[in-house]
Assembly symmetry: C2
Homo-oligomer: 509 residues x 2
Amino acid sequence: MAERRGRRARTALQDVPVRRPEYRNLRNPFTPQTVFSDDEVAALHANALRVLQELGLKVLLPEARAVFRAAGALVDDDAEIVRLGADIVEAAVRTAPAEFTIRGGRRADDVWFGPGALVFLPGAGCPNATDRLRGRRPGSFRDFEELTTLTAGFDVMHMQNAVVEPQDVPAPVRHYATMRHQLLLTDKIPFLFARGQGQTLDGFEMLRIYRGLSHEEFATTLCTKTVINTNSPRQIDRPMAQGLLDFARHSQVLVVTPFCLLGAMAPVTVAGALSLQHAEALAGITLAQLARPGAPVMYGNFASNVDMKSGAPAFGTPEHIKATLGSGQLARHIGLPWRSSAGTAANVADAQAAQETAISAWAAVLAGANMIIHSAGWLEGGLTHSYEKLILDMEMVQIFAELCSPTAADEAEMAFAAIAEVQPGGHFFAADHTMNRFHTAFYEPLAADWSNFGQWTDAGARRADERATDIWQTRLAAYERPPAHAERLAEIDAFIARRKAEGGAPPGE
Amino acid sequence: MAERRGRRARTALQDVPVRRPEYRNLRNPFTPQTVFSDDEVAALHANALRVLQELGLKVLLPEARAVFRAAGALVDDDAEIVRLGADIVEAAVRTAPAEFTIRGGRRADDVWFGPGALVFLPGAGCPNATDRLRGRRPGSFRDFEELTTLTAGFDVMHMQNAVVEPQDVPAPVRHYATMRHQLLLTDKIPFLFARGQGQTLDGFEMLRIYRGLSHEEFATTLCTKTVINTNSPRQIDRPMAQGLLDFARHSQVLVVTPFCLLGAMAPVTVAGALSLQHAEALAGITLAQLARPGAPVMYGNFASNVDMKSGAPAFGTPEHIKATLGSGQLARHIGLPWRSSAGTAANVADAQAAQETAISAWAAVLAGANMIIHSAGWLEGGLTHSYEKLILDMEMVQIFAELCSPTAADEAEMAFAAIAEVQPGGHFFAADHTMNRFHTAFYEPLAADWSNFGQWTDAGARRADERATDIWQTRLAAYERPPAHAERLAEIDAFIARRKAEGGAPPGE
């Protein structure tokens, strides 16, 4: 911003140090926390293998069953059931890489996954959007544009995500609009839904073109990720199985995430739900590795409990936290990078929303999750993406990012001289030690208001969500896109025009 | 509650298991997290000792200086400065007990402090109270009664606290009203302010009477705690020094808590502020041990940063979290139980309030704090106690308490049979495994609303703080006091009448 000021302003500002925190390439500073003993983790792993071997799972895509069969699995094509021996699963897990890097449009936007990596993504998959000015509505492409723009503007959002479903764009051509927008908006890694082979291959081709890669280069360059949700319990539907095959074969990143709500699609106990989650995740990972040994995969966790009165999902609960911590143990047991989530069931960006989100986000951080999805913006258990909550959550995520920086304790930081300089009962505001550091010593809040009650009342007594409305409007207006690559854009647009003329790619085909 | 129902209702309810979580006697399930290396912790400790030896601190009470002098400290009575050699401090720390139990009115309300103990107390010291029905006002005795009653009703609030300052009770007699109310309200351990020897000894006597103890028994029975705030930097005022002497000599619990705001009363760096905090806490602990070796003391931490634009305190910030984690390392270095806090600077029970409170409470839990004060109700950095926030925070604290219970992973919990019973793509709602457990499997929320957007809208689209208003009213009306001990109460009332006739005990004398 200083660069746009005139010479005089620049000169005057020269002496004022500006705080420039590094929110990329985070490494988790915490020791992973546990809920199970090592023996229990081994027992859960064995229980999951037993589920795969004795009960198997239903795989709706014939080609996926054929891949499993070729590896020695017992396949019942009439029942569509695949039973997987532990040897097959464990051999497949061994071929999965323990770490990998997904490439962004610039090297600064590359994201590494491996032990200790801490990557935040905004809330995703929301059919609706809401903000305080326009209310709650079905997600539109404008919402998609605005919410992706808002998230792209925060360094602490390390990858793009399917923030909201643009329901006003017809499904067979929606993926052209979302991928084109992502590529032009920012150099951060875009998401791609696995909604049938047509959409997947279209997405790969757009990415290949805009990243300036040959087909050979694209085959070995990780450029995007998708989330594969198994249809818990024990089922992988056709688009998800197809996605596992296609992403693996093109060496793009798969995040295999069973959707295990305790008491609904999974057993009511944490250990039971994680047994099922682990079995399904292992099955998906195995299919990917059978399709292409060494394909980049992540272990996925999305397990919380439901309200047993209504069946509604809940987040930030004790059971959610325990399932998150246990998932980290299982992911480390098999040695793969893994994703978890923050979450809330609240319907508005109020104290419940903030509390559930902060509790569950802390749990994911403490569990050692390498990718934390839904870390900003989610409301209603993911049914709505809130502009205001996106801003409020961003504060929390930035605070986590700040905690990744080391805390020095050398002579200067220990400040003996400053303590000697200030008299008993005095204050440090004017001490040299303070004056030399105060511009950059502390995190500067994004949305928090630290003014006192009188000042706050005079300023309109506005709640955090009301203030957040101003912030997202300002951030949205201020966002600047990187320069577009005109030649590649023309090539993409020609590709899209041709594919649209061919009818696009209906989901699931 | 079931006991009050008629026979028919009781019979009908017999088959429905009721969830009875144990929220007392919590043990922290997490590994303490760190920000400093062991070498850095040793350097911080040495830096604090150097502050005490070379700079000293100002001690305004002559008797306290005399105690220090008798132990070999260098005392300058004109300047009121006490310089403490490391040998004196370290010898004193060695006489402080690593664990102790404070006695409640019943054994069930005893509270143990030692490694792993996790004790929650509500927000304290607030001059104002607020709720959505009556607005923000100076704290009154009615507020004190109501807020103590609300907290007493939650098992997860393990001790009573000075939730709000009853400003409508004259200062010289306020302590009679607050102690009498606490003793009659609940068997939980009451607080006592160290506001001069008169008030302290009055409080001890009331406690001795109502607990039915002889003077000899009271001298060795821990019945109450007080928080001693040093006047950072490097000063202990007269009432605080007197409190250190009086509580130590009567073997009542001292929580020695410097008030170190980074950049204000303490250096702007975490390591500098903790050096000062550590020096002051060690000085207070030393005075207590010199007054009575073996006196029960806790190490206190209350360090966060200020907004460098306004000087206003902030909470839940990265610097706050780091100072909290570092304080735990320093407390463990000297081997004493310790207290920390949650906190928020928000002015209303909104998303900011919840986020800052949850972030800072997690930090205190992860730091291994044995006593977490201000864990419910605080607003405005402690200037106001909010009825609604008290309820909303209680949800968070109960969730922490739930995390202290073990998570089983035996055969039954791993639920292989249930996974086998439910077909692929089915659900577990009706599984035997679920039906046998669903009444008690999950934490039941206090204030969280998990209904969907339509239901929530139909029910009035109420924010969490609005719902909390109903909850505190209901809880307040439902609270039942334990039966009063008539004889002891009469003795206390006679004592109060006599002391009032004598003019009470003006604070600070």
